[in-house]
């Protein structure tokens, strides 16, 4: 997904972003002709994308366009019905779970535990990997690590930040963030965008789905628009951070 060509490779009937600009940047993930069927409904139709490290990609599109499905396939949580997905130089996403961070609409955390307890739990599930400590992760997302309340007592925005802290724990090389700015106030969003800009500069790949394109604009290297499961357009962004 590193070229400014819009929808589709010439001569190819698939819906796709173009592949080559001659850049030598490492490819973090590549999806080729990926389709996903849920029963008879096609959530994705022959989508091809290539994600380079150190870039931020913003996925936009109306509800049901296939943004979340594409993200879940890249995360290895769904298998494509057709086509292939490879990450980090040719391995399946399922084999590289520890290197991929996935954040969903839902917090993916337990309401009954505090943020520290939640993060400690997940940290222990990455044996042998150099992880951030829960305190470090919480500080990165601007939360007080000493806050001794269960997650059920957090506001939506605080849960969202804790969820991002969980994603950051194993220091993933590919961050897949599904609507990370939902339920967040403008100041929190600005802080999160600055944080993500820092990750981008440290050669990590970021993919963000959002309905609020303007919020992610300061870090968007590329904007991919999906429509009815196909790539509608693929445009360069104008990152300022």
């Amino acid at each position: 997904m590193n070229a400014p060509t819009a929808a589709g490779i010439p001569g190819d009937s698939s819906s796709s972003s173009s592949l080559s600009t001659g850049e030598t940047t490492e490819v973090s993930a590549r999806a080729e002709n990926v389709s996903k069927l849920f029963g008879t409904f096609a959530a994705l139709r022959q989508v091809s994308v290539e994600l380079l490290s150190g870039r931020c990609y913003v996925l936009v599109g109306e509800n049901g366009a296939g943004k979340s499905t594409l993200l879940r396939i890249l995360a290895g949580l769904l298998r494509p019905s057709f086509g292939t997905v490879r990450v980090f130089g040719g391995i399946e996403p399922q084999e590289a779970r520890a290197r991929i961070g996935y954040m969903s609409h839902a917090p993916m955390l337990y309401d009954e535990l505090t943020a520290q307890e939640n993060l400690n739990y997940f940290r222990n599930l990455y044996p042998g990997r150099q992880c951030l400590t829960p305190t470090e992760a919480l500080r990165q997302v601007g939360l007080d690590p000493k806050l001794n309340r269960t997650l059920g007592q957090y506001s939506q925005g605080m849960r969202q930040r804790t969820s991002l802290a969980r994603v950051l724990l194993p220091v993933p090389e590919l961050l897949l963030l599904d609507e990370p700015f939902s339920n967040m106030d403008l100041e929190s969003t600005r802080q999160m965008v600055e944080l993500l800009a820092g990750f981008r500069h440290s050669s990590r790949t970021i993919v963000i789905t959002t309905h609020q394109r303007e919020l992610a604009a300061p870090i968007a290297d590329w904007v991919l628009t999906l429509h009815a499961g196909r790539v509608k357009s693929f445009e360069p962004g104008n990152p300022t951070l």
């Binding site: 769904l78 996935y102 969903s104 337990y110 009954e112 535990l113 222990n124 599930l125």
Partner: protein, 222 residues
């Protein structure tokens, strides 16, 4: 391997300690079954000893199912299961931790239920009473190992609360039979429960192994 198992187990125990959802619901349900049977049959003497093994087993079974149905609910509620699937630890550890946690919850219920049961049924155990401390855990393990597996299998189904007993009970029948028979033999003091206990041990080993081997597939099923 054990570190992730303890991580999952500690989390499940901590959450249950705070919410007490599983234990409370099981306890009330089991007590209700025991009291209702007691009122219905007014069991005394030899008759009480004859039916008590069956009543106890059925009470535990129904109570456990009400809790097993919720075993994976917390994982599904905020898509925590997806976050767990993204970690590099084997699913078998998560499964085993869940089974151990459920086993402990049911055991707590049994410990509270036992004296009530003895009083309500005027029970005097004529056989080797200590063998109940072998039979009940073995039967409980059979129930929760299968129940936890099938609860995971039916987790994405809209009718999961109906589906779980429909799948679980027929498969649990051999263990149920062994549990009831051995408990009855121990309580009445007539016969030798060894064969039934061996059956329970074999059942536990076979079904726990199969569940452990298949859980990874169930966990990552779409």
């Amino acid at each position: 391997m054990l570190s992730a198992l303890w991580t999952h187990l500690a989390k499940d125990l901590r959450i249950e300690w705070r919410s007490k959802e599983a234990i409370n619901s099981m306890l009330f349900f089991a007590l209700l079954v025991v009291v209702l049977f007691s009122l219905s049959f007014d069991p005394q003497g030899a008759f009480a000893r004859q039916i008590s093994g069956g009543v106890l087993t059925v009470a535990i079974m129904f109570a456990a199912v009400s809790s097993l149905n919720q075993a994976w609910a917390r994982e599904i509620r905020h898509q925590v299961l997806d976050a767990q699937r993204m970690t590099p630890t084997p699913g078998a550890e998560m499964f085993l931790a869940k089974v151990i946690a459920n086993f402990l919850f049911v055991t707590v219920v049994q410990i509270v239920l036992a004296p009530v049961f003895v009083i309500m049924y005027n029970l005097r155990i004529l056989g080797n009473g200590w063998l109940l401390a072998v039979v009940l855990p073995l039967g409980t393990w059979a129930l929760v190992a299968n129940g936890t597996f099938f609860a995971a299998l039916s987790i994405r189904s809209r009718n999961r609360e109906l589906l779980l007993p429909l799948i679980l009970f027929p498969i649990f029948i051999p263990a149920l039979l062994a549990m009831v028979q051995s408990a009855t033999v121990i309580i009445t003091g007539q016969g030798d429960p060894t064969l039934w206990i061996k059956l329970l041990v074999g059942y536990d080993i076979i079904f726990t192994t199969i569940s452990l081997l298949l859980f990874e597939v169930v966990l990552h099923a779409e």
